[in-house]
């Protein structure tokens, strides 16, 4: 009986070890794939962001404005800029101040 129980436990250990090993291998493979994908996506993101920063720089935007629009850019006076706050479906309009209130 004792032998039978031991053999059963060993059989169980062999089975569960192979199962767990298989699972960890799968997880490790997944982690590796995700890491590699992340690496390449991160690199792509950096490149796109870098391009975006270059193309959306003030200098470039002014170039595009001159190229595609005939309108002139007019500086806004601070008094023309208002601050709208919505609270309980009611809007309150305040002046924009240079100071933090």
């Amino acid at each position: 009986m004792k032998r039978f129980i031991l053999t059963l436990i060993i059989f169980f250990l062999i089975l569960s070890t192979s199962l767990i090993k298989n699972t960890t291998k799968k997880i490790e493979d997944e982690i590796y794939n995700i890491k590699e994908n992340l690496r390449s996506l991160n690199s792509q993101l950096e490149e796109v962001f870098f391009e975006y920063i270059y193309l959306s720089s003030s200098e470039k935007l002014l170039e595009f404005q001159l190229l595609y629009f005939e309108d002139q850019l007019i500086p806004k006076d601070i008094s023309e800029i208002k601050l709208i706050t919505t609270k309980h479906d009611a809007n309150t309009i305040e002046d924009l101040n240079i100071t933090k209130n």
Binding site: L6, I27, N42, S57, I78, I98, T99
Partner: protein, 561 residues
């Protein structure tokens, strides 16, 4: 019988021992196998638990690991995360003529991919039978096309380059590196090791948009006033964060030029100047801090000229009244009045005050290009000239620090370019309570009253306070007609947040420029006088008009965050 019994007993004993031994061996073997598998089971179970429990690694992945760590250098970003300096990988493609199988076919294919290349020259180079670089920094599309040709004579070489996407905009802050990945100026130099050691980007306090707007105005007015150079500095008076730092002329660090012209020095941190009347605010503040005067203290019978040894000190404005209060001396920028205030303070205390607020002495800063300050002897004559900003030199950076302390309630600050994590350092108050308010109140009157010298900067909505300074430049030991025109502004005066300095080096009179006077007072054509009030103040006013709404909106965004 006995013997048999003994024998049986012996046999039994033997047999019994043997059986016992067999059971023990078998049991130990099973126990060993059990233990062996149990250990393996345990290892994998722990590993599985570890895999399940481990947190995701969000650290930025080093894109250059695969290329080379020799040229590894961290990126530099502005306060909003925009790249100011970035290391990117690039691929150069070369041709090994000895490995070419079909020269005609190769050239035809290359012509198709690179139609604009000079193939006569390329054919000559192929005939020389030596390896040559065919295309540097090839685009990803062309790289794919050229590698698809499958010609083994085409060799690609991966390398990294340092790019400065903002070109000239941050040249004096960022600096540049040499071909060996060594920083040779600016932050590239002072942070050289840190940039090499880590991949984490370094975040600065500067703002790309604000920097662009200020530079645009400086460049525009450089054409109007024909000044040799210019500098501007925008800083938060409460924490020393530099939002913009500009010095003209500047350079494009992407070009890797070897700059030797002294006009290209950083005029904010390295250039030392006699800045003239902007020092009068320090004289006034020092006397208030020592409780020697009040704003309404009267100075009577002020002469038009006094002498410091054989050198005369006179008023710039001939209509300067002889009787003035201390505050009016500052508002009307009186030289003799300022000398009288300084005489009350005395040379020792005045020097100590200037050192305390950081205007004199060495300053600690994030970039290495800072001016070496001399330890000046403060005799009576030096005191008199320093009272109105002559015979004493400092940098724009130190001037900004001084004005920040004068306007932020008297708290010590350190100008900085690198964004620090929020710290709970206790602020040290170095000026007496109430001094700051009195100084800012007088500075405001310089901008918004008729008597003041900076009316052109009275931009509606910003409560600008400030002080002008027009100083003749010493050349060969004597003062020349060339001037340094400076305007230091602090705004909003009700709760100072920013100090903004504009300095123009040798500006000229602009006879065609039309000034629109503030508060609907009409226009004036041509610069009446080549002073800060008509040059640096105009530049500062126009610049604040442009950057003001952005600063107001951004401070709101920061609050919401």
């Amino acid at each position: 019988m006995n013997s048999r019994i003994i024998s049986e007993n012996n046999k039994n004993d033997f047999s019994s021992k043997k059986i016992k031994s067999n059971t023990s061996v078998q049991f130990n073997r099973i126990a060993f196998i059990f233990f062996f598998f149990f250990v393996i089971y345990l290892i994998y179970t722990i590993h599985l638990i570890h895999l399940g429990l481990r947190k995701s690694n969000n650290k930025p992945i080093n894109n250059f690991n695969s290329i080379s760590t020799k040229f590894q250098r961290a990126d530099i970003i502005d306060v909003n995360g925009n790249y100011l300096a970035k290391t990117v990988s690039s691929i150069d493609v070369g041709i090994k003529p000895v490995d070419i199988i079909d020269k005609k076919k190769l050239i035809l294919s290359l012509k198709y991919i690179f139609p604009n290349k000079d193939f006569v020259e390329i054919e000559k180079r192929i005939e020389k039978n030596k390896f040559f670089k065919f295309e540097r920094r090839i685009s990803p599309d062309n790289y794919e096309k050229i590698m698809k040709l499958g010609d083994k004579s085409i060799v690609s070489e991966e390398n990294v380059i340092r790019l400065y996407p903002q070109k000239n905009l941050f040249s004096h802050i960022i600096g540049q590196i040499d071909d060996g990945n060594r920083g040779i100026s600016g932050l590239e130099k002072s942070l050289n090791q840190r940039l090499k050691d880590s991949n984490d980007p370094i975040r600065l306090t500067v703002d790309k948009e604000i920097q662009f707007l200020i530079r645009s105005e400086l460049v525009r007015y450089q054409e109007i006033f024909k000044n040799k150079g210019a500098a501007a500095l925008l800083m938060n008076v409460n924490n020393g964060d530099i939002i913009s730092l500009l010095s003209l002329p500047d350079f494009d660090p992407n070009l890797r030029q070897n700059i030797t012209d002294v006009n290209y020095i950083n005029k904010v941190t390295k250039g030392t100047y006699e800045l003239g009347s902007v020092f009068k605010s320090f004289t006034y503040a020092a006397a208030l801090n020592e409780d020697l005067i009040k704003p309404e203290t009267e100075f009577l019978d002020l002469p038009k000229t006094i002498y410091c040894g054989r050198f005369p000190i006179s008023e710039y404005d001939e209509k300067m009244p002889s009787d003035l209060t201390a505050e009016k001396i500052l508002i009307r920028s009186g030289n003799i009045g300022s000398v009288r205030i300084a005489e009350k303070i005395g040379p020792k205390k005045f020097k100590l005050f200037l050192e305390k607020i950081g205007v004199l002495g060495q300053i600690n800063f994030d970039i290495e290009e800072i001016a070496l300050q001399k330890n000046l002897e403060f005799d009576r004559c030096r005191l008199e000239t320093a009272a109105y900003g002559h015979g004493i030199t400092t940098t724009i950076l130190q001037l900004a620090k001084g004005y920040s302390i004068l306007s932020n309630g008297g708290f010590d600050i350190e100008p900085k370019l690198i964004k620090r994590k929020k710290n709970n350092e206790k602020k040290i108050q170095i000026l007496n309570v109430g001094v700051s308010e009195k100084v800012v109140s007088a500075l405001r009157k310089i901008v918004n009253t008729e008597e003041g010298t900076a009316n052109l900067a009275d931009v509606n909505g910003y409560e600008i306070a400030g002080k002008t300074g027009t100083a003749q430049q010493p050349i060969g030991g004597e003062y020349s007609s060339a001037k340094i025109n400076t305007f230091v502004s602090v705004f909003p005066s009700s709760k100072p947040e920013y100090v903004f300095i504009v300095m123009l080096e040798t500006p000229k009179i602009a006879s065609d420029y039309v000034y629109t006077l503030r508060n609907n007072k009409g226009t004036i054509k041509g610069t009446p006088r080549n002073t800060a009030g008509w040059t640096a103040v105009e530049v500062a006013g126009k610049t604040i008009e442009k950057i003001g709404p952005i600063l107001a909106t951004k401070s709101l965004e920061v609050e919401e965050k």
